[in-house]
Symmetry: C2
DNA sequence: CAAAGCTGTATTATCCATCATACAGGTTCC
DNA sequence: GGAACCTGTATGATGGATAATACAGCTTTG
């Protein structure tokens, strides 16, 4: 029974570096601190740093040059999806990228107290539970667990769920959806989600919990979504709305769509496109987050 | 050179269980599966499960009874803060909870390329960089790194920053803020953030990156915030706005405050409730999901 | 060219998280 | 009361991750 204990420190350093790279903090072409420097910074041996870099290299995020250093390599390989706060990513499909859905599980049963309460169900009332994974360009990026009251769930089949958005099916059943609440949070990947999302257990995930209500106030859908943060993030534009006395911000509804250049960026002002200077960033990486 | 390697599997199980507890999936009073069951479920030895439970117990999240089982204990100790999407948490302060700010670092220098670009700075232009930790009821919940163009930063002092909201200071300098973009994501805690937030390295964190612009389009503030997911989460209400053909949702601006009916009183039987010192702080807030 | 830095590679030793197993003692329930 | 759970506790063995160290070959720089 090999125990297959995974690395700890090495993996940690790998994740931290990876994070800074995909976040754009370390732009492509940047030279990382040397292995001895990283080792000192994280208080580990060079061997361990080496392992972390091995992972990054295997993933194509960095490129090592013997005698020279380790360089960030082609961040473009990782292009996160950007969704606005209402969680619409249709414009991404417009961009030529296709999303697929894989239905992992489908069935009926009595939900947990928490789900039952949030949907406003009576004790013992049954729900349909489904687990889906959404892929973009063949790569998984979200793990969706949905609970729907049984009387709604019975109006569509398993096959239909695999082919149509759930909300569409719910509305087709005659239910009107009018209001929803959602909360965004973060977690670690558990075994199932990690497998489905092609991640390692313990990776960070973005969480979205949404409950959709019909006008009467009954809950019609409980969605629990887990997103890979390197492939998905929420984005929103805000405008100042309060009177000058108070600082209040409201979401800009018709937000500009061109904002999908990947990476964090502004793209609002004309003067962006500052300089793609050939990253002459030789040694400056010392600065921290 | 003691290496002090931390647990891996044990910690993982601890985090997973902890997550389900604070998320309300395992309400207070629930009996956890037995140690042998958990061991089998996670494919580890009972010793390892034991370690995970030790951590939970030390944190006061579960209580063990020899011969009987392990029970979830007083989730109310963990009360997450809820912020709406414009990241205003003033209404929380109204409810009697106080936030404090600790200024960890303050200085001027040349920012990273990423920051410079997002603020629309010319190469070499300097910024003020500050790192703050925000506490609620004495407990840290957010780690804020802000970058402000030097010409704005010079209008206030280090002491003022520690005492006033940054945006207030920026506006006091004569700058008008009008637009902002923000992105929400997830990461793992690095060494500094972990220390500041009283977490272990590798814990999941909620991320908010916000850039505030003045009307001319210049960036005036770059905020990178890390939040403890167990103490903070984003919440928003959505209303259906599209015509019935399209499913489109928009944030409900004046969202009803009393809306959510707290789930703290979900626990069915109250076999638990061991009288310990009442945590002084009113526990009215609550509401998660 | 030579010094200084870097990555690549190897070896040895240590540590500790985990496993496997066994038994003691408490609780629950029939 | 006793079977069947449970938690508490102790044991030794093991293997993978990490540390410490040394040296090679390449690259950059002055």
């Amino acid at each position: 029974m090999k125990s297959a204990v995974e690395p700890l420190k090495a993996r940690r350093i790998y994740l931290l570096l990876r994070d800074r790279i995909v976040a754009g903090e370390l732009p492509a072409g940047t030279r990382l601190p040397g292995e001895p420097a990283l080792a000192a910074e994280h208080a580990v041996s060079r061997v361990t740093v080496r392992r972390a870099l091995d992972l990054l290299e295997k993933e194509g995020l960095v490129q090592r040059k013997a005698g020279s250093g380790t360089f960030v390599h082609d961040t473009r390989a990782v292009r996160p999806i950007v969704a606005d706060l209402s969680n619409v990513l249709s414009h991404l499909i417009d961009m030529g990228r296709s999303t697929d859905v894989k239905l992992l599980s489908f069935g009926y049963g009595v939900p947990s107290d928490q789900i039952a309460e949030s949907l406003g169900l009576k004790p013992g009332e049954r729900v349909q539970r489904s687990v889906r994974v959404r892929l973009i360009d063949g790569e998984p990026f979200s793990y969706l667990t949905t609970h729907v009251p049984e009387w709604i769930g019975l109006t569509y089949s398993e096959a239909e769920l695999a082919a149509h958005p759930l909300l569409e099916l719910i509305e087709r059943s005659g239910v009107t959806t009018e209001r929803a609440t959602q909360a965004i949070n973060a977690t670690l990947a558990g075994p199932e989600a990690a497998t489905a999302l092609d991640l390692e257990i313990g990776s960070p995930l973005l969480t979205l919990t949404r409950i959709v209500y019909e006008p009467s106030g009954r809950g019609v859908e409980h969605l629990h979504a887990l997103y890979r943060p390197d492939r998905y993030s929420f984005h929103m534009d805000l405008v100042r709305t309060g009177n000058d006395g108070e600082r209040r911000w409201s979401p800009a509804l018709g937000w500009p769509r061109g904002t999908d250049k990947t990476k964090a960026e502004k793209s609002k002002p004309d003067k962006n496109k500052l300089g793609e200077k050939p990253t002459r960033t030789a040694r400056a990486i010392k600065q921290r987050s």
